[in-house]
């Protein structure tokens, strides 16, 4: 199926590896064709609604939605969690709220608004459209204990593709890839990415809590689907560790990169070298270790609880 692709600003700077790995995975899957929306504009993230009018994000998104509509697309894929939330909310509002629709049309000169396309996250498309059974897993991610970190905007506000409090789609995906998805309570707690520029110590203490809980649940890697979460947990990991007087040494990997590893894609396409906390030592011990190093069976609940106690 064809989807209009809205990369978002981070995909060409801080999260370039997310963009690269997503495109590589989509190409390899074959059933998920991503066509970039030409000349897309920024969704405005969280600050947009604070400036000018609370409806500014709707108007900014309306331009992108209308270009995608002109391309003849019914669905848009937005990998950045903030873009995903803003576009999804705008698409919903434009289709439901006539007053907002009229206002958005007024702000866009020479552009027509048809029915706004539906906005999806790549995780949603991979789990629900492509289907877990259709992922060509060639190399099981043995030995990886993944803490799936959804952050805030992947599953919230409510009405998205997964449960807002305890989503499961990424966990099921990781188990399909042969990794163990640890169960932990901080999977949808906010990392504070939206306020870290002006309230650094608070957002750092929020992110440090996330990593502490991931570590306590026995994870050796954190999978994310949001560029902000990745940046904060990865780039500042040494500072976060200093706050808690510990070391984390947890690679923060985009879920698409882990998919690429399991599908045995060319590693140069996955951008693993761009992660600040290098995952290569861990990968050599686990995924790239000779087969049979790890038991295939998932650990029992008792084993998980024991690990929790040790941490």
């Amino acid at each position: 199926m064809k989807y209009a692709y809205f990369p978002g600003c981070s995909q060409s700077s801080t999260a370039e590896e997310y963009n690269r790995s997503l495109l590589a995975v989509a190409r390899a899957l074959g059933t998920m064709e991503l066509i970039e929306i030409p000349d897309w504009n920024c969704c405005g993230a969280t600050p947009a609604a604070a400036i000018v009018s609370p409806t500014l994000p709707t108007s900014l998104a309306a331009r992108n939605l209308s270009i995608a509509r002109d391309m003849g697309m019914d669905e848009i894929v937005a990998p950045c969690a903030a873009c995903y939330k803003n576009l999804r909310k705008a698409s919903h509002d434009l289709n439901e709220n006539l007053e907002l629709r009229a206002q958005a049309r007024g702000t866009l000169a020479n552009r027509d608004l048809g029915r706004a396309p539906e906005v999806r996250h790549p995780l949603d498309v991979i789990v629900n459209d492509v289907g877990l059974d259709n992922i060509p897993v060639k190399k099981l991610l043995q030995g990886l204990r993944v803490a799936c970190y959804y952050g805030c905007l992947l599953s919230r506000p409510a009405g998205g593709f997964d449960d807002p409090e305890y989503p499961q789609s990424m966990d099921r995906l990781m188990e399909k890839l042969g990794a163990e998805a640890v169960s932990w309570v901080y999977k949808t707690k906010c990392c504070g990415g939206g306020i870290y520029m002006f309230h650094e110590h608070v957002s750092f203490s929020m992110s440090a809590d996330v990593l502490v809980h991931a570590k306590a649940a026995g994870a050796n890697v954190v999978a994310v689907g949001c560029p902000f979460c990745q940046l904060l947990l990865d780039l500042y990991q040494d500072k976060l560790a200093a706050i808690k007087s510990t070391t984390f040494n947890l690679p923060i990997i985009f879920f698409t990169q882990l998919m690429g590893l399991a599908m045995d894609l060319d590693r140069a396409e996955l951008g693993l070298e761009k992660l600040i906390v290098s995952p290569f030592a861990l990968l050599a011990q686990t995924v790239d270790a000779p087969e049979g190093t790890f038991e295939k069976k998932a650990p029992s609940r008792a084993a998980k609880l024991k690990r929790w106690g040790e941490a």
Partner: protein
């Protein structure tokens, strides 16, 4: 709907204020929002979300709009999905930011001020280029708050530069005039609404 303006004469009403007051009027102070908030327990808020809800009900406009909370809410929507009264508290916080900007709050120093600078500069860049240009945001923000912090940013910047995670030049959008047009037309529309509201208040 209650008109809190009647109790507090300084609480100037407008369609924006009414939307907020109406949304919050059903709050029964259970505190689920404060219990779900990740920012408040980390020490990032001067009033918890529950307190802000009560303050809105009590018509404490000055206190609400100059609070740190409206700016330090990280917009994670945890309170909104858990609220038993279905109040979109995150949306209320963001509307309050908007109102604080329109009415000329907050103070010149402190977290509220820094939050305002960050939000305004973020959108100034989007308005100018049509897309985000991170280095300009970081430099602008620090020059306006504490230029010395720029030195502290150097190691992080270098790390990102080495990993080629830093955008050196802004991306040039064909439609950037169109994006500016969106801002411009919406601004005019808002100014018109504010004028009308002011006229109504006088009558």
């Amino acid at each position: 709907m209650f008109k809190y303006g009647a109790i507090h004469p300084r609480y100037e009403t407008s369609p924006e204020v009414e939307k907020i007051v109406e949304a919050v009027s059903v709050c029964y102070q259970c505190g689920t929002c404060s219990g779900s908030c990740p920012v408040a327990p980390a020490g990032g808020m001067d009033y918890t979300p529950r307190t802000i809800m009560r303050m809105i009900q009590a018509g404490m406009e000055d206190e609400v709009l100059s609070s740190e909370t409206v700016w330090t809410c990280s917009a994670c929507y945890m309170c909104a999905v858990r609220c038993p009264r279905d109040i979109d508290i995150t949306d209320v916080m963001i509307r309050l930011r908007n109102l604080a900007l329109i009415r000329g709050y907050p103070a010149r120093t402190g977290i509220a001020h820094r939050g305002k600078v960050y939000n305004v500069d973020f959108m100034r860049i989007v308005r100018k280029w049509g897309r985000m240009y991170e280095p300009e945001l970081v430099i602008r923000y620090h020059l306006k708050t504490n230029p010395l912090n720029l030195l502290g940013m150097a190691p992080v910047g270098l790390k990102m530069l080495l990993k080629r995670k830093l955008r050196l030049l802004p991306e040039l959008l064909d439609g950037r005039l169109e994006v500016r047009g969106i801002f411009y037309r919406l601004e005019k529309e808002e100014a018109r609404k504010e004028r009308e509201a002011r006229k109504e208040r006088k009558e």
